[in-house]
């Protein structure tokens, strides 16, 4: 493990301001480190900012990302350095000096208010790279509307120095004489997450990109779909602006392409295309969408369901690579010839073709690697180690995100958190030494003032403003009783808008604020913070959601959507008049993390937390540590899992901050965030553990197949059993081995992909070939899902002569006993002919399923499960290791099937999240907790029964009490209280009643 000499520097430099860099920065900042976030572009946000929606939930990408962007921009421990590049890294782990060059932006960031006047007068038009060049921007520009920092920059290569902008700028922010700046930063560690580039499809000229205007890349298509895109979210053909009714997607353009030097799979494109197909059908209901693919790789959590949904919605999946996209002269139509599922060949015409272009290492990574002194791998991505996620060849320099390997957003977020955990561990001794604390001005006393309400109505670009008449709503609000200020904002959540709200509060001496925008779930905290900055109690705030509740659901009736928005605003203003300040309470956090599950993930999480300086109690129900790791003997990449098992076990057992309890079963969990009490039984002994946070790393198991003669014939085994045979060397006699994939996966009772089996089969096949080169291996598969760099091992297996034979789920292989041996019959789909294979061994790739006790633990810890019985995280994309309840985290196979390396990264990620909580030291209660009018309480105890968080109890006098820090404000008790003694702050009966009256007043 990496160590530092002497006391390290408590700061970290993060390269790359995409979702990966943002996550790493936030985790480290929360964990008490100073962070410099270095981004080459004029704003952070990266690729995710360019996405319209994200799979498999179809969440608006910008809507989930924007709060993170703003949080990064506001975090007292984070300094964002845009237009900047790392030029030199000297020093050692724990104490680096980094030379950063910041290119002249020619706009003073302290003066620019992002008003955009400069943009309107700039005469120079430049292709807009944020929209993939599909439209034009000006030479002075802001990359996208929600950009952080939300200020302009001048494209120095395009600027004609007409100084129109400087003359227009009332803030005097334009500085034509600004020069590049070079400076040095002292940091203890670096995290490199510079993201990726897309494959240039002109490298595959047969697809016509660059020649045929209606052939676009997947990212261009994403921009076409996006409301902030070149056509404001209207999906049209670039050639003539017409609506494309027939759309084809071509997969693997520049991926899995040995001939173009990209052996690997880009991991995201299959689902990306599926998402875009579904969105296209939303935009154009009668659209006919076809996806041409080789293997459909829906391997992630809930992906298989999403894929099924797409097929049910009518997306045509055609298993055939496209040879050529040709234009039909005069029509703009595009012709594609392909093999039909029946085996015939036909030509079909499309209006638009989308090339699912592969992911390549980012431009300049080679230079960055040289400067940072790290090695790259054979594909030009950052070289890291399977069992030591994020570690590069230089101690103290970590890599994360797609720059390490192609991966989707949740895995990128996990990887980034994992990198943060590594840095936090390395710099543990300096935690808090350079951290700043956020201080707000003292709260103004408003209780005796008459209501002075400010209303802010958001356009959300065209998301709201395209349907609802936003200025009209703002005008309407201005005349409501108590309102002294009302205005509309293009993007209320943009950083400049948020500061503007603070300023307006001060300027007009407001004492209540109403924002009408999108969902309060993500955005209310942002606006509440601007109240605090203006010296107002944050609970003097009311939020109206006029996006989901007006513009989105009444898209085709703008007039009534506007009327409804007015109603909602009026109701909110009515309620706002009755708001009173809420004084939150604080609760100390028990500084110990309970880790449940002593497998690879659990041990890694425990070690990471402990190395970051917090005590851990590691609970394992088996008498020994190790979990599934005990049954792994090889990995695809050639690492030794048994050495890892030994290493982890020894370190866990000897760590002074880790207490290991094996053979222990959890019987009861009480308490709440920051202060849990878990009771467990260890043999006859009962123990009570007090802990502030918990990481559930309870794993999953290989299922027991119920078909293919498993359990009936001794020569039918699972992959895990086969791996044990390989490890013991008892495979010399094997001549012919058949492996059957998807045994128990991707079927009705288990409608998910088990993700690891294709890699597992390839791994074992290669091992067998190594031990016994004469053996013939046949792998019967449905789709080969060797995503990312695993594809190279699929390639290697083919090189070694492993024969891959696809089967259709409707015609599963048949296994028949022939004495000691077996015969497998499978219909070979390419030749459409049955093959009989006489074999010595049948190996089944059995599904991964949740452990039987998962459901019980979920109940004990009150955390949700997915329909498949795995733990359900707080958010599929951006909170992959958090449960919705703060203080509860998850890692490993209990979350979903994954490889060992992925589980280790997730364990470290969960660890840094828990450390981020514990490092706070104390918890603040929510503002929407309940209060009890003791005089009215009858002591019936119904509230105690209905509270899902254990925040209610009856005291010795049978009066119901509330633990404020635990109350999540769900309102269940307030709703059931028969006497009205329980009132929820911000949702008091009188407030709600007046709102209802106001609603009926229309």
């Amino acid at each position: 493990m990496e160590q530092t000499e002497g006391r390290p520097v408590g700061a970290v430099l993060v390269v790359g301001g995409g979702v990966s860099g943002i996550q790493a920065a936030l985790d480290l900042a929360d964990a008490g480190f100073r962070v410099y976030l270095v981004e080459r572009q004029p704003a952070i946000g990266g690729r995710m900012a360019q996405l319209d929606k994200t799979f498999p939930t179809n969440d608006c990408s910008m809507c989930t990302l924007a709060p993170r962007l703003v949080e990064c921009g506001r975090h007292p421990n984070i300094t964002i350095l845009t237009c900047a590049e790392v030029k030199e890294v000297t020093g050692v782990a724990g104490d680096f000096t980094v030379k950063v060059r910041q290119y002249a932006r020619l706009v003073d960031p302290d003066k620019c208010r992002g008003c955009g006047e400069c943009e309107s007068v700039c005469p120079v038009e430049v292709r807009d790279e944020f929209n993939q060049g599909l439209n034009m921007r000006k030479a002075i520009f802001r990359p996208y509307p929600q950009a952080v920092p939300n200020i302009y920059a001048i494209d120095i290569n395009r600027c004609v120095e007409c100084v129109e902008c400087a003359e227009t700028c009332t803030a005097g922010a334009i500085d034509p004489f600004m020069g590049d700046r070079e400076f040095r930063l002292r940091v203890g560690a670096l995290i490199l997450s510079p993201g990726y580039e897309l494959f240039d499809p002109t490298g595959r000229p047969e697809f016509g990109y660059g020649v045929l205007p209606n052939v676009v890349t997947s990212l261009e298509f994403e921009r076409l779909l996006s409301a902030s895109g070149p056509y404001q979210g209207h999906l049209v053909r670039p050639s003539d602006g017409s609506v494309p009714r027939r759309i084809a997607f071509v997969q693997c353009v520049g991926s899995r392409d040995v001939a173009r030097g990209a052996v690997y799979c880009s991991s995201v494109c299959c689902m990306h295309a599926t998402k875009q197909a579904l969105l296209a059908m939303e935009h154009i209901p009668d659209a006919d969408v076809a996806i041409f693919y080789i293997d459909l790789r829906a391997f992630g959590k809930d992906f298989e369901r999403y894929y099924a949904k797409a097929r049910e919605s009518g997306v045509r999946y055609i298993r055939c690579m496209v040879s050529q996209v040709a234009t039909v002269p005069g029509s703009g139509e595009l012709a594609i010839r392909y093999r039909t599922p029946e085996g015939a060949f036909r030509e079909e015409r499309f209006d638009m073709v989308v090339l699912s272009v592969g992911l390549r290492p980012p431009q300049g990574l080679a230079e960055l690697a040289r400067v940072a002194g790290i090695e790259l791998n054979e594909f030009g991505f950052c070289k890291t180690w399977e069992f030591y996620p994020n570690l590069t060849s230089r101690p103290g320099v970590y890599a994360a995100g797609v720059a390490v390997e192609p991966k989707d957003i949740p895995e990128t977020v996990v990887d980034a958190s994992s990198a943060a955990a590594n840095a936090s561990r390395l710099l543990q001794a300096a935690r808090g030494s350079l951290a700043a604390t956020k201080s707000y001005p003292p709260e103004r006393e408003v209780a005796h003032e008459a209501p002075r309400i400010g209303v802010f109505v958001c356009h959300c670009g065209v998301n709201i403003g395209g349907v609802v008449d936003v200025p009209e709503v703002a005008r309407y609000a201005a005349d409501l009783p108590g309102v002294v200020h009302s205005q509309d904002l293009l993007f209320a959540c943009a950083q400049d808008s948020i500061s503007a709200i603070s300023e307006t509060i001060r300027e007009h001496n407001l004492n209540r604020v109403v924002v009408a925008s999108c969902t309060p779930r993500t955005h209310a905290p942002l606006f509440q913070a601007s109240l605090r900055e203006a010296g107002l109690n944050p609970y003097l705030y009311e939020h109206v959601n006029i996006r989901e509740q007006c513009s989105w659901v009444h898209r085709d009736d703008p007039a009534r959507a506007t009327a409804k928005a007015k109603d909602l605003v009026r109701m909110a203003v009515t309620k706002a008049r009755l708001l009173s300040p809420v004084i939150t309470t604080f609760l100390d956090i028990e500084p110990l993390v309970l880790v449940v599950g002593g497998g690879a993930a659990g041990m890694t999480a425990a070690l990471s937390v402990a190395d970051q300086g917090f005590p851990v109690c590691l609970v394992e129900k088996e008498p020994v540590l190790g979990g599934n790791l005990r049954h792994l003997f090889y990995t695809l990449e050639g690492s030794d899992p048994q050495a890892l098992l030994y290493d982890l076990t020894v370190r866990v057992e000897h760590h002074p901050l880790i207490r290991v309890l094996t053979g222990a079963e959890i019987v009861d969990v009480t308490g709440y965030t920051g202060n849990y009490v878990t009771r467990l039984r260890q043999g006859d002994l009962e123990r009570e553990i007090k802990h502030g946070a918990v990481i559930l790393a309870t794993g999953a198991v290989e299922s027991r197949p119920r078909e293919y003669l498993y359990g009936e014939h001794p020569r039918v085994v699972t992959q895990t059993e086969f791996e044990r045979m390989l490890a013991s060397g008892r495979v010399g006699g094997l001549k012919n081995v058949v492996m059957i994939q998807c045994v128990g996966s991707r079927q009705e009772d288990r409608p998910y992909c088990s993700r690891v089996c294709c890699g597992h089969a390839v791994k074992n096949a290669l091992k067998l070939k190594e031990l016994n080169p004469g053996a013939n291996v046949f792998i019967l598969y449905r789709d080969v899902r060797t995503y990312g760099f695993k594809e190279r091992y699929y390639l290697q297996a083919r090189e070694k002569g492993v024969l891959f034979i696809r089967y259709e789920p409707e015609a599963k292989p048949a296994v028949e006993a022939k004495g000691e041996r077996l015969r497998v019959r499978v219909v070979e789909p390419v030749l459409n002919t049955p093959l009989d294979i006489d074999v010595d061994l049948v190996v089944l790739s059995a599904a991964i399923e949740p452990r039987p006790e998962t459901a019980r633990l979920a109940q004990l810890f009150k955390v949700p499960l997915t329909p498949d019985g795995f733990f359900a995280e707080a958010h599929m994309k951006l909170r992959p290791v958090d449960f919705a309840t703060e203080g509860m985290y998850l890692a490993g196979l209990g979350h979903a099937p994954k490889t060992l390396g992925e589980a280790l990264a997730q364990a470290q990620a969960a660890a840094v999240r828990a450390v981020g909580l514990l490092a706070k030291g104390r918890l603040e209660s929510l503002g929407i907790t309940v209060q009890v009018n003791e005089g009215r309480c009858s002591g019936c105890g119904i509230c105690v029964e209905v509270c899902p968080y254990g925040a209610r109890y009856l005291d010795e006098n049978r009066v119901a009490r509330v633990i404020a820090a635990v109350c999540r404000g769900c309102g269940a008790c307030a709703a059931t209280c028969p006497t009205g003694a329980t009132q929820q702050l911000g949702f008091e009966d009188r407030q709600i009643m007046r709102m209802i009256e106001s609603a009926l007043l229309a």
């Binding site: 047969e206 016509g208 040709a326 234009t327």
Partner: protein
């Protein structure tokens, strides 16, 4: 003055006679001196590589040896010859093992000085840009042609070094310089099936029929090609009722340059070219 060794190939002595005569005439008109290789032999065409790979490289290599002796780059008008000669050159340059075998079989040492050119390439890259347009006296105004590159001129691109192998434009630019209108169409590099013209005429006819239909879809009056095998196949194996002619690009150059002898070249076509050229009379060209 540009001097090049000239490798006519067997077809230009027979079915592609008018390509040979028009190519020589056009080169002379543009100041390119062609020196026919003394005692050249057949390149093996589409057959030798179906029989033996080394033979298919050694046969053209003997011609490279002849060019090497002359000290000139060699130009091959026929796409098949060009491709075979170029394949041999490529193997000699980049494949050490095969080079040894070829040199052994063909009995010479490749010194690396000889480059193989297609006639199209020579006219595009070896003379001053604009020379062709300057030489035009009768612009081919109104003639809409589908430029047909076929397979062997462009593939494989690492051997032919052809720019934009999926959407080549050299021929289009050339006919445009002659005043004709190159149409956009999607058969530019599809195979015409010439290698099946003798052995599976029905396959050849089907492929020719498809190409002619695509050319018509693009609005062309005629095809233009740089290959005698394609030209013969396109005219000889056309489906019944098809009347679209296929010109050698050198014929159109001769026409636009006002060279004598065009009538004799056109007379050799298996399709009457006059209807396609009638548009020129109308526009006064």
């Amino acid at each position: 003055m540009v001097r090049l060794a000239y490798y006519p190939g067997c077809s230009l002595e027979a079915t592609g006679k008018e390509y040979d005569t028009s190519a020589r005439a056009v080169c002379q008109a543009l100041g390119i001196e062609l020196v026919e290789l003394e005692d050249w032999n057949c390149c093996g065409a589409t057959s030798a590589h179906s029989v033996n790979n080394l033979l298919a490289l050694a046969l053209p290599a003997r011609n490279l040896a002849l060019a090497q002796k002359l000290g000139l780059d060699v130009v091959a008008p026929c796409s098949a010859c060009y491709n075979r000669l170029r394949q041999a050159e490529h193997a000699l340059r980049y494949d050490r093992e095969t080079r040894a075998a070829i040199e052994e079989a063909a009995g010479f040492n490749f010194l690396g000085g000889v480059t193989v050119l297609s006639l199209l390439e020579a006219l595009v890259k070896r003379i001053r840009p604009g020379t062709i347009a300057d030489r035009v006296v009768h612009p081919l105004q109104g003639l809409r042609v589908a430029c047909y590159y076929g397979c062997l001129l462009v593939r494989p691109p690492e051997v032919t070094r052809f720019d934009r192998p999926e959407n080549p434009v050299h021929l289009d630019e050339l006919v445009a310089a002659l005043g004709a209108e190159p149409v956009a169409w999607r058969g530019k590099t599809d195979c015409c099936g010439a290698s099946h013209a003798i052995t599976s005429p029905e396959v050849a006819t089907a492929l020719v029929g498809r190409l002619l239909a695509l050319a018509r879809e693009g609005g062309a009056d005629a095809l233009v090609t740089a290959c005698p095998l394609c030209q013969t196949s396109l005219e000889m194996r056309r489906p019944a009722g098809e009347t679209m002619p296929t010109f050698y690009f050198t014929e159109l150059m001769g026409l636009a340059f006002g060279l004598p002898g065009t009538r004799a070249w056109f007379a050799k076509h298996l399709v009457d070219v006059r209807p396609a050229l009638r548009v020129l009379a109308q526009t006064g060209s």
